[in-house]
């Protein structure tokens, strides 16, 4: 059996009061921290939204075998928004003397408008040197196409590629 001095209880009560006061201060700190974490989340979300909207430099390509009609080399007839096509490169190595092709560039510049309209065209006759033809492109929102048409000679393969910046 222990004998307690009531003076000890007073000391303990004082210490409990002190702990309670400290807990109140900790609670207040937690509210501040919680608020700051919320602000960090807001900033992170804003950064994420910004990153998600960054354009992605993308490339694709293929080979067009000319058939005597006007054929699409590269087309994006309905972009999902403003994007930045940079250039189309067409390899004319296969074209022979006496053969002729026309490369055309089209843009659309209005919603529900007239569609793809001719902007420029160039005729390539005979052996092309240097063999790689580069078509520079402009930023665009409503549509773009680069085409090729064989007007003389045999069917030939024209490898091509395009580079553009777009999301997603």
């Amino acid at each position: 059996m222990k004998v307690w001095n009531s003076a000890y209880l007073a000391d303990i009560e004082e210490q409990l009061d002190d702990i309670e006061n400290r807990l109140i201060l900790i609670d207040a700190d937690l509210i501040i921290i919680d608020n700051e974490v919320g602000q960090v989340h807001t900033v992170v979300n804003a950064i994420q939204a910004m990153i998600d909207s960054l354009p992605i430099l993308t490339e694709t390509g293929g080979t067009v075998i000319t058939d005597g009609t006007e054929q699409n080399v590269y087309i994006n007839a309905a972009p999902d928004g403003v994007y930045k096509p940079i250039c189309v490169k067409i390899n004319f190595t296969a074209q022979q003397a006496g053969e002729e092709t026309i490369v055309r560039l089209y843009y659309d510049n209005a919603p529900g408008g007239a569609g793809l309209l001719l902007v420029d065209e160039l005729t390539f006759a005979g052996v092309i040197a240097p063999a790689m033809v580069v078509v520079d492109l402009d930023p665009n929102r409503y549509g773009i196409a680069v085409t090729i048409e064989r007007t003389a000679g045999a069917a030939r393969a024209y490898p091509w590629d395009v580079v553009y910046e777009a999301t997603p």
Binding site: D52, L54, L57, T60, G62, I75, N76, A77, A78, D80
Partner: protein, 234 residues
């Protein structure tokens, strides 16, 4: 500031990526490095979403996409790890609809397909080998909903992601076996014979990554990042 396509971590081992940007015509271009030439058969409908994102809609009857076997040999997965992901919204018509595959039934290759049965709506990955097949499936692929799907094969195991969240996968006893070497065409939205199991509904940006060992595996976290980035368009 620009992000370079090949530097995005999810694109490290990418072999096929069809963002359907053309919006017209009968050819769609692969923006992954191999430049697979993919033809649209039966004139699937170019269909922009409300966000203006261009998708392809297939009628479940005659329309599908294909890439010749000789041009898609890099998608002949046997011991490889590989991942398939993209967006779809299907309508039940044919009870079994192929999303994407490069296979010959019970002989070779792999296929990803949707089915509706008494137990629910399934997305299944199936391997064909030696006169039989093994498979893995998940449930909950309700028709009429835009779903982000991600499917990963690693060894005998499979995991699947739906809208950024891992779903329960049930696998054949013994797990998925290695598919036989396949020379068939890549088909998107149709059976390997191209006369049945047509996909009915929307498809956007089917992608395939593959490799040996850990290459070709897209982690759930990376799938989640893709879902977060692309989900705003749907």
């Amino acid at each position: 500031m620009t992000v370079h396509y090949d530097d995005i971590d999810v694109n490290e081992d990418i072999l096929l990526d069809l963002p359907f940007r053309e919006g017209t015509g009968a050819i769609t271009q692969d923006v992954a490095k191999p430049h697979h030439s993919v033809d649209l058969i039966g004139a699937p409908t170019w269909t922009p979403l409300a966000s203006n994102l261009m998708t392809l809609n297939m009628d479940g009857a005659t329309q599908y996409l294909e890439c010749q076997g000789a041009d898609s040999a890099d998608l002949d997965f046997t011991t490889h790890s590989y991942s398939i992901w993209g967006w779809l919204n299907w309508t039940v018509d044919d009870f079994s609809q192929i999303v994407i595959g490069r296979y010959e039934l019970d002989q070779s290759g792999w296929e990803l397909y949707l089915t509706q049965g008494a137990g629910g709506n399934y997305l299944s990955l199936r391997h064909h080998h030696g006169g039989t097949r093994t498979a893995a499936y998940s449930l909950g692929w309700t028709p009429g909903v835009d779903w982000f799907f991600g499917v990963v094969r690693f060894g005998t195991g499979v995991f699947m992601i739906r809208n950024g969240v891992a779903v329960t996968v049930t696998t054949s006893v013994g797990g998925l076996q290695n598919p036989g070497t396949c020379n068939e065409d890549l088909v998107i939205g149709a059976r390997f014979t191209k006369d049945n199991n047509f996909l009915k509904g929307m498809l956007w940006r089917p992608r395939v990554a593959g490799g040996l060992g850990l290459n070709g595996i897209i982690t759930p976290n990376r799938f989640n990042q893709v879902y977060a980035r692309e989900g705003v368009w749907f």
